[in-house]
Symmetry: D2
Subunit: 388 residues, 4 copies
């Protein structure tokens, strides 16, 4: 049973945090889409709003009419069953609606949602969709930060997003191996009351061989050793398609690393900074994380190993690549209808990442949370932890 | 000899007209680049300013330092000899400098230019570069209007640029054939005093066979007859690469034509309007102009025929496609140095257009003016006049 | 310990079977490469020969010199550590060496290999490489048949490869569900004496939930029901990238299905034939296998479920898509050196297939054999078995 | 009036010369298509045969039925009005019909054509189509030689086509400038009796300014000076799209030039040979010819200048790039029907070449002959002659 008051608080806080994130932008920053994976911030603002309008207001608020019926076309993302949409690569071609018009749309929908939440006794089913909408918007908050980082970090002027934004804390402890004995372990989300995504559900047993997992994330210093040892030139460390990828894209360092006058700098949301050797390395693809582990004679953990061991180390700075492909858990079933498109349809050709990052919204992760990306992507705050 | 006062007036008027054109935009409209041929308006504002800074101020105003040395990288267009540049397809990925920062840059350079113009006796050579810079900016004024039309006209919301913008006047006269006898005619710009581009110079003789040229542009009504007669499906009317182009791009009508409830509408800078059958047809590629002429059993004039006959008809509403490929005139020589890149390097694979359009800036065309575009492009206000 | 006599027999039989497969071809059929995944038959002939020359003769036969040093460049496939190579998409551009020259190369290497095998006491290590070379060639025998099928089956003349080639036998038994109780099962190859690939090694425990698996492969009739029910148009059945794939490639049926006068025909290695509704469906991508299972409300088995249950059903007609991504087994280690490129570097973005097909060479599969392909590929004899 | 006996001789000689050209090939050489512009030799054999079957036999020989109706699909090239066709880039994917089957098809059609020619009184119109078919086949004879050169010259084994094939003779005379006074000159084919293509017809007047044209082709030695002076790195010498082209394709020398142990070799139809400094340079694109002329401070002649002066110099070794774009002559009209596709539909984005080359078939050129190619193509025996 979702508590109505808690839901109103969740909704309000979520909506205002999104706006706080965007408050540091110039109008122009809201508009551009430098690569297909990065969406314009104003699209995120509109899309998260469209979600509530389409899946909550239009179905549950009597007499509600779409704020502007053409917005459905502009702000739908990938819900094929919810109508036509602007193709993803064209989002950055739309100067209208303007930023201010999108904020008007947000304000309107937020008010109508509060009207619905405050003046109606909602069914559990409707409350669940609203709760999902909030978590959906939290996911877009992280995407907003990483997309903004891409937009500003690839601009030749390297503008600052927000002075003082901290992208890491150093882990001031010696590297050690945590040992986990062989055995049967339980994996997945079990508590029916708490929120979770469909892809975490179906708690189930797995058998694990004995393994060791590091208590620390890999640092910039360690990664630099790999680079200086010629890691990017040793073919046997790389997957075949990784090798093609680094050559086609001329990859020789993590994203946002710039060599300035012979020393490494890193673009951060607080601007260009000297590389801190003790910081956890970030903005790596799975391919690079794997090659680094090969070079060390070690490996990445599976998502099951990670979940089983996670109580024994600190996590939360970097999304941690695992060796696991993103697949359905036993007995996974898609939710019915349009919301069934949420997770299941991406369960091929992607790798699972566990934990969360400095860009993740508060209360948006869990030990069972399964994030996933294609193996070449690295504009998220990704990192790695070794196992053996 | 260029008159200094006239030059100051030309400079001031040119700079302010550019800003007037942009005054109808929202900030977001300045930023996007929906196709590679269309540049973001703020790029035009910066590029025309960069031209004066690079080719005039840095070479002639003592002690002048670049307003921001990184802008050279952002606002260079195609002058390979003038340093590195953002590749053309990436212009729409840059949210910074912001629109307001670009206006500050403009203001700074305009003031310094006026300082230079008003307080110095400039050599004829320098005055010529300034004059060229003004004509260069006039070219970008037309591009601004056509790029804005593309940005707004391809937005699903079809926003208005400026109420009351007139894209044509109807030609209220019967179609007639103007007859020109065979003979030797003089072609090209002769007056050394007046401004012209390098590609018009070298007045020279050509021999023309007797021909007839229409006193009127082809109208929407006539073009619609071609469409309704299945013109787009008759392979023998089309060049081989035109046939491929219409199929790959699913072209079945001029650009900006939309069929709404079974009747044709046209996006104009004043918004969506009913198609006026008497208006001169526009936004055609050369391929379509050629196919239309084939269908009529007629042809396009050459640029020499057009120039020879132009005194006997009204022109100025549409850039008129000619059959002539864009080639150097006899004895054409490139200007030395970077400005030599201005015209000559485009003299392959393009077709000449003559006249001017409703989007052309005042005093920016001449009977000898040679415009040129690749044969598939149609976001300019192009049109056609028949010959036989 | 590999028995020398058995190894000679294996070598001779393997070499002659390859040549038997090709004996049904015209010279022209050996040369073409209609898509990047399909190699010209003469390339297979040369590549399997180059393998023995490079990894056996040049390292172990005293005084052996390369038959033609330029062939290394022509016939290397993906061994990055073994020198430069013709890029894969260019193999079909090479008319030389001719087919007859490639057979001469084969004959030379086969004779030298027999010389080595018959007149020397070889170390276990060398015998293992020879054994691997034979199994490598067996893999190429299956590729030869499927590549030939692609070459002939996409030719507008639909030529016959070999009259009487049988692509299936019908399974004349009622469909039933085999039930497997939950428990810990052993997976992977254990017998150190028998040949296996590196990717099967490391026998290890897995925990399986209770499940049911079909005793029969899905038939053409069942798949046709899916097609006729509009399976290819129901977005919720498909992965997101599958949906893009079927639209970009206009996929509406398995590969080699042709609708002729309103009834379905299928290209087989014996030519075009009427579709047999009872035959096991084949030439499906993983995407299609998955969508079919979704439509039935069922799923594909994992590779562990398949391996555990396989003794209780007949298999061997079709490579069976599983839900498992191709990943390393616990404690997987690459063999050292160039042969380490054999399997490990493909362990990303591919799906495991189990069993074998009508095109698989004799004695070339095992219950633990792990085949793998990208999820969109379907020129192999793929099929599916349902689980729940 | 075409003389029947002469026509039979023309037909026989043409058919047998095609076969003589191919007699030096291996079967495999007939099959491949390394780039889209190069067709497999067996396609040329079939296509020239299909031309006679489709445009002559099927329309004029009573009771003639297509040898194999499916061949129309395989061997049609670009006649959109003559039915579906294999797309050009797929010709190299077809192993069938085999070379021997194509020769059977040729033999059959040749015999039926001789039957028609020898036993019937043919109308002038039919004789003209046969004559056109012979000239069409002569064009394909030159393409055969240049396509074979591409196929063998890009094979890493560099096989010889025919020992003793001479690709040039050196011009043993001093370079001089031929002066032509200004005036009105006649251009185009006039003799109604002799064969010519539609694009040469319409003899007409042009006015030429006084000019000078070289008596010699540019040599390898001269071109090497341009290369050694850094010609490929000086942006101001190149058209904008040429500059992009040389960078995308990493062009730094004419085609078929290979640097072996610090000295230049050239692949010829007789195999790899040392570069002869006195030989006329060949296998240049228009872009390179233009850049070379710019570097010399000179230019290419127009096609009118070339035709007017051609009696005063030797030509015939190289197709000579001109500055002229390929456009219709005044009063050009397409022939009616399918044969109207012959020339007119290519009159955009191509450059005219004049003369002929060492690969041109006997009696296949004239002073008025207009060859044409896209400016980046260079697998023909192209060259250049300077003008000023």
């Amino acid at each position: 049973m979702i508590d109505p008051e808690a839901l109103i608080t969740l909704f309000k806080n979520t909506r205002s945090l999104t706006e706080e994130i965007c408050s540091h932008l110039k109008t122009e920053d809201y508009v551009v889409q430098p690569i297909v994976d990065v969406s314009p911030p104003k699209w995120h603002l509109g899309h998260t709003t469209w979600f509530f309008e389409t899946f909550v207001l239009q179905e549950n608020l009597t007499g509600y009419e779409a704020y502007d019926p053409r917005y459905a076309y502009v702000f739908n993302s990938y819900y094929e069953t919810a109508g036509d949409k602007v193709i993803r690569s064209d989002r950055g071609n739309l100067s209208r609606p303007t930023v201010s018009e999108v904020y008007d749309f947000r304000k309107h929908v937020t008010e109508k949602m509060l009207d619905l939440l405050e003046n109606n006794e909602l069914s559990e089913e409707v409350k669940k969709v609203i709760e999902l909408g909030c978590h959906h918007e939290k996911q877009h908050q992280e995407l907003l930060l990483t997309d903004i980082k891409y937009i500003l970090g690839n601009n030749p002027l390297h503008p600052v997003y927000r002075e003082g934004f901290r992208e890491y804390k150093t882990e001031d402890l010696p590297q050690e191996w945590i040992e986990i004995p062989e055995g049967i372990y339980e994996i997945g989300h079990s508590n029916k009351e708490d929120f979770s995504y469909d892809n975490e559900l179906g708690r189930h047993k797995v058998f694990l061989n004995p393994y060791k997992i590091s208590n620390k994330l890999v640092t910039n210093k360690e990664y630099l050793e790999f680079m200086e040892a010629g890691g990017y030139e040793q073919v046997l460390l790389w997957h075949a398609e990784a090798w093609d990828w680094i050559h086609e894209n001329e990859i020789t360092a993590p994203q946002y690393w710039y060599k300035v006058n012979d020393s490494w700098q890193q673009y951060t949301l607080a601007g260009l900074k000297d590389l801190d050797p003790e910081a956890p390395v970030t903005h790596l693809s799975y391919y690079e994380a794997f090659a680094f582990a090969q070079w060390k004679g070690l490996r990445l953990p599976t998502e099951f190993e990670w979940e089983t061991a996670q109580e024994r180390f600190d996590w939360g700075q970097r999304w941690e690549w695992t060796e696991s492909a993103y697949s359905p858990y036993p007995n996974y079933t898609k939710p019915p209808g349009t919301l069934g498109e949420y997770n299941g349809k991406f369960m091929v050709n992607q790798k699972v990442l566990r934990g969360c990052s400095v860009a993740t919204s508060p209360n948006h992760t869990r030990p069972t949370y399964r994030n996933f990306f294609h193996p070449h992507l690295r504009w998220q705050f990704t990192g790695l932890r070794l196992a053996k």
